[in-house]
């Protein structure tokens, strides 16, 4: 439950980041008209909406200084943290204060704002990577497990080849080939290297189910092989697979932070937790306050996914429930 609560909080923070941390005010009155730039931006940055609306367009709002506007007029509600994550200032390496809740980094950027926007990066990489890994892993694992024979042999060998390399170094090696890595590319990289445990587990489950009465009954019903695998058997194989995927998300978040820390992940100005850790590391002695926010955020996020994974595993395992024992 705690894990789910943290995850929900992270999702809310990620979705509401234009309202929580942005130079754009949530509501403002400008030249006699009401504007809701923060809310519009929130909707625009929802997943998939940007594909419908098109790429980032100016909001029909001339650039203006929010703080100045706040000072001038009373009809402006600014964002909770009224800074953009990429907004430079001359206040560098300031510790936490009333105007910068978590201080500023070496370029004068507000750490709290970067942390909020980093949440979105972390979630996108986590879910994106595991989404890709789950699709590849479940498809290949299910085919290998059900079909067996040479299909199984080939897929199993591919899995073993992937498992020979430590995931992190495989990602690192592949990351070198990508010139301008974005969040999406990093997610794809992690997904392409992280599908093996899912495939192995799905394969095992499918082998178990292939010889069950369920498979026999489906065949006796005249179902095609594809239908038996994906409609009849796969839903029954998913419980342990979902647990693995949950743990995999935590792993993907860590790998992304590690990559970014080394400079191969999300490129520097973007507010990723790994990038923040990197710059904190560079100024650890002079500005130790920079270290804690991304560390705590990573720690809590990974812990939350692990809690969720544990809870799902317990829910899927009848023997773990003392009430039924």
């Amino acid at each position: 439950m705690a894990g789910a609560g943290v995850l929900l909080f992270l999702l809310v923070v990620a979705f509401l980041r234009p309202v929580l941390a942005s130079r754009l005010p949530v509501v403002c009155r400008y030249q006699g008209r009401w504007h809701f730039p923060g809310l519009v931006e929130t909707i625009r940055t929802l997943p998939l909406v940007s594909y419908v609306v098109g790429p980032s367009r100016p909001l029909g709002l001339p650039s203006f200084d929010v703080r100045a506007a706040v000072a001038e007029s009373s009809s402006v509600i600014p964002a909770l943290i009224p800074y953009d994550p990429l907004e430079y200032s001359s206040d560098v390496l300031r510790p936490a204060s009333r105007s910068h809740w978590l201080g500023t980094d070496e370029l004068g950027r507000d750490v709290a704002a970067r942390l909020v926007h980093g949440t979105a990066v972390s979630l996108r990489v986590g879910f994106g990577a595991m989404g890709i890994a789950a699709i590849i892993g479940v498809l290949l694992g299910a085919c290998a497990g059900y079909v067996g024979g040479w299909v199984d042999a080939v897929i199993s060998r591919v899995i073993e080849v992937f498992l020979c390399f430590p995931t992190f170094f495989l990602v690192l090696a592949l990351a070198v080939w990508i010139e301008e890595p974005g969040v999406g590319q990093v997610a794809i990289l992690i997904g392409l290297t992280g599908w093996t445990p899912i495939a192995r587990l799905t394969r095992g489950e499918m082998i178990r189910l292939r010889d069950s009465g369920l498979a026999l009954a489906s065949r006796a019903m005249g179902a095609t092989r594809r239908r038996i695998i994906f409609r009849h058997l796969l839903p029954n194989a998913m419980a342990p697979v979902i647990v693995t995927i949950t743990f995999g998300i935590a792993h993907a978040v860590l790998v992304e932070a590690g990559l970014s820390w080394l400079g191969f992940g999300v490129p520097a100005p973007n507010p990723s937790w790994g990038v923040m850790l990197r710059s904190a590391y560079d100024h650890m002695l002079t500005a130790p306050h920079l270290v804690y926010p991304p560390c705590v955020a990573l720690f809590v996020t990974v812990l939350a996914y692990n809690w969720i994974g544990d809870a799902l595993r317990d829910a899927a395992d009848p023997r773990a429930n003392p009430a039924w024992a």
């Binding site: 010889d211 009465g213 369920l214 026999l216 009954a217 065949r219 019903m221 005249g222 029954n236």
Partner: protein
């Protein structure tokens, strides 16, 4: 059996299914011939491991391959009496898939294992209907509820929305029967449909099957180890032993005049009213490993007839080293020389419609009990 071919739906001829493991194939079904007729029930009885389930699975080519493989024989199926036959043993997969579930439906021993725990039973019946009868959406679901109602399930609308784990064993078996019958098959293969159920529910299910058969006129192939069920349901009975049919007769004839020593042993092992408190007669031993069958008649190590002292006194005998102890048996029961190819007793018609695979019985005058 007599040559009435007019209402023949399923004609299995000399079916051989081997399990190909390691060195050579193990004959699990070894030359079985049987026929299922419209509106009639054929029961296959026999003890565990005699090959009855593999026979049933072979008909629809459902034996897991590997290791199972149909190495010979034909499974001729015609949708209606007189219409052209398809040989299911060699038909392409697409043809077979249309027949499976649609024309020949199958219900299995353990209804809990055959229902998908992640879908409601209504969805599962509806899926079968969509697959084979081309009904879409709501109409399939309506038909599913109607089927449940006809199978005597109370409040069928609500039950259709239940997941299998919420139903009792008897209800689950009804659901499976509903699923099988929803597509209006012409042959129903019921593989021990009541073994997982308690006796009263089993009787209800059997009565239900009988009623459905009377309604739809389908042929039933009933696989069971329960002679009582066979006697109650079947028109014809085949007794299987070690992958072969050893006796085949109309049910009344078989139970009134069992001829094969195995059949008689089975019947004697049944509890009977007035039997008193003594031990039931059992057939000693068990069906051996199909990979290592004894020479001659496969039943001879357990056969009492071949070991009857009276028989042994007057005729040529042989001492066999059995697994546990030496047994003395009639030479003619183990000597394959100058007998049928394969050295096994073949089915021989000894009375009208009554065939037995036993050299002793076939040699003697029929009915000498």
């Amino acid at each position: 059996m007599a040559g009435e071919t007019d209402n023949l739906l399923l004609d299995v001829r000399d079916l051989r299914t081997h399990f190909l493991t390691g060195a050579g194939g193990i004959p699990v079904v070894d030359g079985v011939s049987l026929s299922v007729r419209q509106g009639r029930t054929l029961a296959i009885v026999g003890e565990t491991g005699c090959g009855k389930t593999v026979t049933a699975l072979s008909i629809l080519r459902l034996v897991p391959d590997p290791p199972g493989k149909i190495v010979g024989g034909q499974v001729l199926f015609s949708e209606q009496a007189g219409s052209p036959c398809v040989d299911l043993a060699t038909a392409p997969d697409s043809v077979l898939r249309r027949i499976r579930g649609g024309r020949i439906a199958m219900i299995f021993q353990d209804p809990a294992a055959c229902l998908n725990p992640v879908f409601t039973v209504g969805e599962q019946i509806a899926e079968a209907v969509r697959l084979h009868r081309g009904l879409r959406g709501r109409r399939a679901e309506t038909l599913a509820v109607q089927m449940l109602e006809r199978l005597g399930i109370a409040d069928p609308g609500a039950r259709a929305r239940d997941y299998p784990h919420r139903l009792s064993g008897g209800m689950r078996q009804r659901v499976l029967i509903a699923m099988a019958l929803a597509c209006e098959p012409c042959v129903l293969i019921a593989d021990e449909p009541t073994s997982a159920l308690d006796t009263t529910i089993a009787a209800e299910i059997m009565a239900l099957l009988g009623r459905m058969q009377a309604e739809k006129g389908m042929g039933i192939l009933l696989i069971t180890h329960d002679l009582g069920v066979a006697a109650q349901m079947a028109d014809d009975v085949c007794v299987m032993y070690a992958g072969r049919i050893v006796e085949k007769a109309p049910a009344k004839e078989l139970f009134a005049r069992p001829m094969h020593p195995y059949t008689r042993g089975l019947l004697r092992s049944l509890p009977r009213p007035g039997h008193g408190g003594g031990r039931l007669a059992a057939i000693p031993g068990a069906i051996g490993d199909p990979a290592h069958q004894p020479p001659g008649c496969p039943f001879h190590p357990r056969c009492e007839r071949t070991r009857e002292p009276a028989a042994l006194e007057t005729r040529e005998r042989v001492v066999m080293q059995d697994a546990e102890q030496p047994v003395t048996v009639l030479r003619r029961c183990i000597e394959p020389t100058s007998r049928e190819p394969g050295g096994r007793p073949e089915l021989r018609e000894v009375r009208t419609d009554h065939s037995v695979a036993c050299w002793e019985v076939a040699g003697d005058s029929a009915g000498a009990v």
